[in-house]
Assembly symmetry: C2
Homo-oligomer: 208 residues x 2
DNA sequence: TCATCCAGTTAACAACTGTTCTCCGTAATT
DNA sequence: AATTACGGAGAACAGTTGTTAACTGGATGA
């Protein structure tokens, strides 16, 4: 069971989380490769040297942010992809899931979109690994679907990664539309839905 | 006709280009938002203050890089999308075009992928505008295709943007595979081709 | 109760940053 | 031939950066 942390470890985790939160906030207007260690500690209200008690470097903190942003997302993806509704409903629910997630954690989404191709190698790799996991998981769920009969393993993974990339694109669009008018947001929803539907249509007629 | 530039203007453009080239090289290992003005001038071998003769700021230089990376690409896109071959050949030629471009200008491709969601707003906007132009142009070409009869304008643009995003994803994959084994590169080719084909299949059966 | 541990502090380091102002040499203009 | 325009150099500015070392004080465990 969960052992109650001592005062000491609890306090440590608290400042560690404060560092992560402050970094994420600062990253809304810059990239990780320009984020300064002193900048983060200053925002938290702690001495610069305290940073080293928690992270070896900014890149290390970035890797922790990747875990925080994507680590807890795997179960959600699985259940959404494997929903038992009809096709149209499933797509709509997936888009609502994305929209809701972007609303709830915009800074996390921005961080992932920004650092996926960003200037810090270990962070790029951490994101790539997580997305590869998503791809595998989506593939596993797709394989259970009767529509996937006759598909090769490679093509299943190909389709899964196409879905994953499309979800990221959609999330990024929602992010840009966060402060836009409701009509604009609705338009983004429509486009995202049609793009996903088109991919699904292609999926159904793939074996011709 | 082209008026021969004076010695003065020619020399100015030369150092300006040297600044752009040096910046692009430095950006292979970092993001634009962490690129220093002095860093760039040092790489060129010129005084820091000379930078201001060419660019107002690093963001300004970034915008110029966007123009350099994407500005000359529009005609290529148009001719590739509107090729008169059969479907399968067109897709293969598109992928070869992308692969060739990544081979020839890897730093430009990396820059666009990195700064599309990067930390410098004006640069993000410049890239977004260029990609929106690509979307419009692809849409125009798609509209000429007999397959597009009965399509709404919105859906045509939706599909065009789907293609554009997919091309960027593919370019990014080629970039990662640049130093990989030939087998790995071939695998990336296969995946990209299948993904494009699947989208095309969806396109053909969209009006059901 | 006492010794140990350890998250966080303080001070200092050399190196770096963007930006201003003043100046120079030469190409361009008259 | 004389004057102007201008790309670039030089020096100096106040601030910033990452990293080191030695230190403090309160929680921890014997």
């Amino acid at each position: 069971m969960s052992h109650t942390l001592g005062i000491r470890q609890a306090q440590k985790q608290k400042t560690r989380q404060a560092l992560l939160d402050a970094a994420l906030a600062l990253l809304e207007e810059q990239s990780l490769s320009s984020l300064g260690l002193r900048e983060v500690t200053r925002a938290v209200g702690v001495a610069p040297t305290a940073f080293y008690r928690h992270f070896r470097s900014i890149a290390d903190l970035g890797a922790a942010l990747v875990e925080e942003a994507l680590g807890s997302l795997h179960p959600m993806i699985r259940t959404t992809v494997s929903a038992a509704d009809d096709h149209g409903q499933r797509i709509k629910r997936a888009i609502e899931l994305i929209a809701g997630h972007v609303d709830a954690y915009p800074a996390h989404v921005r961080f992932i979109a920004r650092e996926r191709h960003g200037g810090v190698q270990p962070v790029r790799e951490a994101i790539r690994d997580q997305l590869a996991r998503f791809g595998q998981e989506v593939k596993d769920e797709l394989a259970k679907d009767p529509v996937s009969e006759g598909w090769s393993e490679d093509d299943l993974l190909m389709l899964a990664n196409l879905y994953v990339d499309q979800m990221l694109i959609t999330a990024s669009l929602f992010l840009e539309a966060l402060e836009a008018s409701p009509e604009e947001r609705e338009r983004v929803c429509q486009v995202a839905e049609h793009q996903l539907r088109l991919i699904s249509v292609g999926r159904e007629h793939w074996l011709d």
